[in-house]
Amino acid sequence: MKLRFHWAFLLVAALVPVVGLFVPAARSLGELLRPIFIMAILALGLNILTGFTGILNLGVAAFMALGAYAYAILTCDIYPFQFGFWPAVMLTVLVGLLAGLMLGLPTIRLRGDYLAIVTLGFGEIVQDSLKNMDVITKGTQGINPLPGPTFAGYMFRSETYAPWYYLFLGFLALVVLLNRNLQRSRVGRAWIAIREDELAASCMGVNPMKMKLLAFSLGAAQCSLAGALWASFLGSSGEPGNYDFQVSIIALCIVIVGGMGNIAGVLLGALVVVGCNSLVLETFTNFLKAHELISSTNVYTAPGNWKYMLFGLALILMMRFKPEGLLPSRQVKAELHPHEPPPS
């Protein structure tokens, strides 16, 4: 059997901390991989909507924010709940599921581009509301400190490295497995049928509204899982501004650059996009600053300031030249290039 890219990715990722015991460089790589795992979970949530079902969602950061705040409220000792990590994460996923359902119910019948704008508006409303309802959410301070996760009596501390790494990798593997099984189930086939042709799908007995709602709530649940994990890692819900439109666009970039509707593509996309954002740009900026090659006042020479330009150009160029992404799913590729013979 051919080894699929996503399993190979997870396998190699699992070996990074082991190599890190001997090679120090692998350790710093591993530390940079942790946010990539979180973003990959977020992007896989978006992939259910945009990749499988063909619904553009511009507000996934809102679900991530809801996840982070729900987790924070459930665990922080200034609130009465004070759950442990595992029940809190499960409840957070449930909160995400409900939030997706709540947003989806009234809006799901809207046409694609209108729906995209509604999700964008939802993202802004959530962000502003979290900022303004400071009685509950502590405004821009965020809710903190949060207790670390525990696993079989072991307490995660913020300065440790490998336990967090494997925790996130484990969740990512779980999400990948879940999404792969969903994709191959009746539900997944219905989603893809809706993406290809909603009318034809409904004639074949698929209920588009029900399936879209399911995609909405399952996608939202995964996004809030990403938020909960991130909050547990930070030890804080983070401030509302951390979950702005830019995060939603990074998630969209991951899905589009990697390959819409393909789990392996999304993993590759997370590696490329987040890697480019945090690894290449930041490391490059710090390197240049450390060697006094750039002045801190000149806005052009700091590579980090080219971030929007890079993301923007990535979206424009991908749409123009390679809309199926770097690692496309077979169906999407065949649809976008109808005249090429399929690979034998």
Binding site: T107, R111, I117, F245, N298, N305, G312, L313, I316
Partner: protein, 313 residues
């Protein structure tokens, strides 16, 4: 100030801001009307227009005020219109036959590129622009039009700036309506908007007409930039997102694709913002606008003046 005077004052502020929003909304609605694209980059085009206006003012600071205003009102719209046309030519034109979400994603990309250009523009190290060192910080736009109250000593202020907004925007909107209704080019635009294929069969160069629409919409955004910069006297590189969302909400509220609808929607959003600032709380105003947007889309997607018959939404 009595309660009524406060209300009246907010009405004036709301109407002036509403006219500016309406000008931007016209650009959204024209482009949407003709190719069904939510031109996400339109707000950031407006932002770049403000920076262009500041550059023009910096370069022509010694000239008399009326000449500077004239130059602003010519150069900025030309810049914005040209840029909008160029983006359509380079990015969107190739996606005419792609899936519907492809141009939207592309427009989001353009918006990010514009945002970055705005940041860089604000950081220009040249002395003549006087932009200062911090690229991301808000820039002061010089007060070319005075803040004098035209109503004498009344508590309610109707300033020269408010008058300027009306004097520039109202004739422009009338002119635009006449252009679309009366001229040959306007007729071609309406034909392409109605049915592109049929229009092409009648000998209309659809791509050229779409390009003209982008040019015109961008030009309106350029005028809006000048007016907004003169009215608010401060610009910053992230202002485009907010302005764009307000204008898009206005276009949807009025009925996207409808020119009078965009103006009506702009006035409504301007008023809603001003009244919400006064009577609810400034920090909830943005939430209000988005709530209006979502409610309109969910309950009346054709908007206030939109066509009754439309594609199933």
């Amino acid at each position: 100030m009595t309660g009524w005077e406060v209300f009246l004052q907010q009405l004036i502020i709301g109407l002036s801001n509403g006219m500016i929003i309406a000008l931007i909304a016209l650009g959204y609605t024209m482009v949407y009307g003709i190719i069904e694209l939510i031109n996400f980059a339109h707000g950031d085009l407006f932002m770049l227009g403000c920076f262009a206006a500041l550059t023009v003012v910096s370069l022509t600071g010694d000239l008399p005020v009326w000449l500077v205003l004239l130059l602003l009102l010519v150069l900025t719209p030309v810049f914005c219109g040209g840029l909008n046309w160029l983006v359509d030519r380079l990015a969107y034109r190739h996606l005419r036959d792609a899936t519907k979400l492809a141009p939207l994603v592309s427009a989001i990309g353009v918006s990010f590129v514009f945002l970055n250009l705005g940041l860089f523009w604000g950081g220009l190290p040249l002395k003549v622009f006087g932009f200062g060192k911090a690229a991301a910080a808000p820039k002061d736009f010089p007060t070319l039009v005075s803040n004098a109250n035209l109503l004498g000593n009344s508590n309610v202020e109707f300033t020269t700036k408010d008058l300027l907004v009306l004097v520039i925007t109202v004739p422009l909107m009338v002119g635009l309506t006449l252009f679309v209704k009366q001229t040959r080019a306007g007729k071609a635009m309406r034909a392409v908007a109605q049915d592109r294929l049929a229009a092409q069969l009648m000998g209309i160069d659809a791509n050229r007409v779409i390009g003209q629409t982008f040019l015109l919409g961008g030009g309106l955004a350029g005028v809006a930039s000048v007016v907004a910069a003169l009215y608010n006297n401060t610009i910053y590189f992230q202002m485009g997102y907010r302005a764009g969302m307000d204008a898009f909400t206005a276009a949807v509220l009025g009925g996207i694709g409808s020119l009078p609808g965009a103006v009506l929607g702009g006035l409504c959003i301007g008023l809603a913002r001003a009244l919400s600032d006064q009577y609810i709380a400034t920090r909830w105003t943005n939430v209000m606008v988005f709530a209006i947007l979502i409610l309109v889309l969910v309950f009346r997607p054709s908007g206030l003046l939109g066509a009754k018959h439309r594609e199933k939404v």
